[in-house]
Symmetry: C2
Subunit: 420 residues, 2 copies
């Protein structure tokens, strides 16, 4: 009846074993996998080429093709992250807290794996490696459900992951991949609370909402970044242009790319033409509020469009940027409170008071002062990679790395101690 | 249409203010409230007497009457917890982590309040104080929905809480109490995700399941303790009797009271009559598996019943105890894996290997060696009280105290830093 129950049973059973494997085994696995990605990647690249060809035939847009693309340089990047992860301390078994209570009980809080994590993701084959690596290092069993657009790449990657697991004496069942693209399996997966401790949907709003509504286990949602930068009147305007260009253009298809630029009116006349010229020359389409359009009308026309209803609530994931002129810092904060997905928002300013106000009032996972939003990333923050970027407030906020895949248990040891 | 929207809007607005109040204000509030509970409690005790009288008329059983009872001694206990809470460090604003990234960005992880917490609870007026106190100290706005059985007590307590808030210059709206017993309001409350960051249902399985299914915000569930103690063959039997007696009898109506006793077969003949005599003399009814009954048949009849189907999955909350004889340590572990609610489970043993096996294999929030299960309690563990005991794995596990009511944000400060 439910085809996935067997997968769940295997994951639960394997999770018990994984809680006991040594740190050396985990790191050996990571280093071996890195080695394979760097020097034995032809199988992966061939499979990825098949996915790319199929994607182009199916008419996927450039953003989606970029998401599913693997090349040697990206594999080298993934390998580098794996090597860094192998250098990180093993969180499992570490003591979070230890104290002797007044009654003599020794109370300790010890970090343990969550158990079984299931991840549903879309067209990004690197996620297959990231999740497997973080899952193994944190002692969790993993059930992967990737997008059908990267099925060939994922199969090749999982084959290699299994080979590396077996070579390092870790059960291959630690990573299970659902390779049947039937959507019905997703419906089954989100009901497996008996076997799955957490569900992580990595994908668009529809997937996240589906999981929130239908999943019977706890869900970690996130990854939808409607990201803002506010250019304050005191900002260094030339440098601000470069930060905005980086946040928008460097990798526009990811969640930490910039979506909306807010500009203080007192620098708008000088700043907007500067930033518009730089962005338009990189192919960015600017969706401008009326005031912005007034400021830009003389300088340029191509690449400038009017903002439309709902645009400030969109995650662009492409070379499009919303722009709005604001009258006060407070208006920038209000706009962010109203439209931000609480992922990554920041201020560019040389005024410490306004910086402080942003740091204290913006209620987002990562709040920036004078930096590109592109740093909301587990590897960049030294978390050993990330399985997702949480926009929830419970458990983990922002990039979910190694620690975010653990929980703890209290261990209380007494001398036949009773409560008075 | 939705009567609670105004409550939500007020809570959200107040939460912004609460994030900024000083530690001194918070502690002044706690100490003033403690003072009032100790020395100015007549209004509360009178109101509570009304609730008790109504409860008896409505035919509530003794367990429920005990749950809703307040007397000066219990108020003094609550006041003591408040004073202890005032001594605890203020978690808000504390730095969890600080590092300078290779690119020069200063990255800090700062503890912040969750925002707005809503708590639905049943007949326990002390919860009104506990939640309000922990909420204020952790900078959160609180929406309370107590059981109708304690409406009078809760109203009196909330009045005093409001007086203490006002006296210490904290907005009284920090604690909002829904005093209309209409059940429809609960249905509205669980849909207020726009204003409420977390929902904590404190009550039975029906309430928890209702919230899990219908709430649109994140839910912290827990508080259902099907708790086990296993008496190993090496246990000090006389002392084990006292631990079991304490775990079952000291306060049978709470979640950390013992529900099932597992006894190693090689000590069953000696131990079962000892523990049965001690428990039966305190009015405990023993629900015994057939083997246990065989061992007890000669010694005693009164207070001994046969275990029935489903009994090992019940939280008794009264003077009833399930008992089962097991052949191996592994059988005790299997029973716990199958029947525990992952709240509080332990072993009584003088064998370090078996203790180690329990500590590593039992996947519960609190694992005990040679102690009563009654210590699963935020105040006992020095957490500043508790808003609930989580049996989830995400965020907080076991008693949820001050830290469990916080989250963090990352603050990244650069020098117009871009990502390469």
């Amino acid at each position: 009846m439910n085809e996935l129950i067997q997968t769940g049973i295997i994951a639960r059973k394997t999770a018990r074993k994984l809680a006991q494997i040594t740190t050396a085994q985990k790191n050996d696995f990571l280093l071996l996998l890195a080695e394979r990605l760097k020097n034995d990647s032809q199988r992966i690249l061939d499979a990825n080429q098949d996915d790319i060809n199929n994607g182009r035939e199916a008419g996927l847009n450039d953003a989606l093709i970029d998401r599913l693309l693997l090349n040697q340089s990206r594999l080298d990047g993934i390998a580098k992250d794996l090597m860094e992860l192998s250098q990180m301390p093993d969180p499992i078994g570490s003591m979070i807290e230890e104290k002797t209570l007044a009654n003599g009980i020794l109370a300790r809080r010890i970090r343990v794996p969550l158990g079984v994590m299931a991840v549903i993701y879309e067209a990004r084959p690197n996620v297959t490696v990231d999740i497997s690596a973080l899952g193994i290092k944190s002692g969790n069993a993993v059930i992967l459900r990737g997008g059908k657009e990267t099925l060939a790449s994922n199969k090749a990657l999982v084959e290699i992951i299994h080979e590396c697991l077996i070579s390092t004496n870790i059960p291959a069942e630690a990573v299970q991949f659902i390779d049947d693209p039937d959507r019905e399996l997703v419906h089954q997966l989100v009901k497996l609370d008996k076997y799955v401790d957490i569900l992580i949907p990595r994908g668009g709003n529809t997937l996240q909402e589906f999981c929130k509504q239908h999943a019977t286990m706890q869900v970690m949602t996130g990854g939808i970044g409607i990201c803002h930068l506010f250019v304050d009147e005191s900002a260094d305007l030339e440098r601000a242009v470069e930060v905005i260009h980086n946040a928008k253009v460097q990798r526009p298809t990811v969640c930490n790319a910039l979506d909306t630029l807010l500009v203080h009116q007192s620098v708008a006349a000088e700043f907007l033409p500067m930033v518009a010229a730089r962005l338009i020359s990189s192919g960015v389409v600017l969706k401008c509020d009326p005031t912005t359009q007034d400021f830009l009308a003389i300088d340029s026309q191509a690449g400038i469009q009017s903002i439309e209803e709902g645009d400030f609530d969109r995650e662009w994931l492409s070379l499009v940027l919303g722009i709005k002129v604001v009258v006060f810092v407070g208006e920038a904060l209000d706009h962010i409170h109203l439209h931000s997905s609480q992922h990554s928002d920041g201020i560019l300013t040389n005024n410490p008071e306004n910086a402080q106000r942003f740091k204290s009032e913006v209620d987002s996972a990562v709040v920036y002062v004078n930096a590109s939003t592109r740093f909301t990333d587990g590897a960049q923050l030294g978390l050993g990679g990330e399985v997702a970027v949480s926009t929830q407030k419970l458990h983990a906020r922002g990039p979910i790395g190694l620690e975010g895949l653990t929980t703890y248990k209290w261990i209380l040891e007494g001398d036949y101690t009773v409560r008075n």
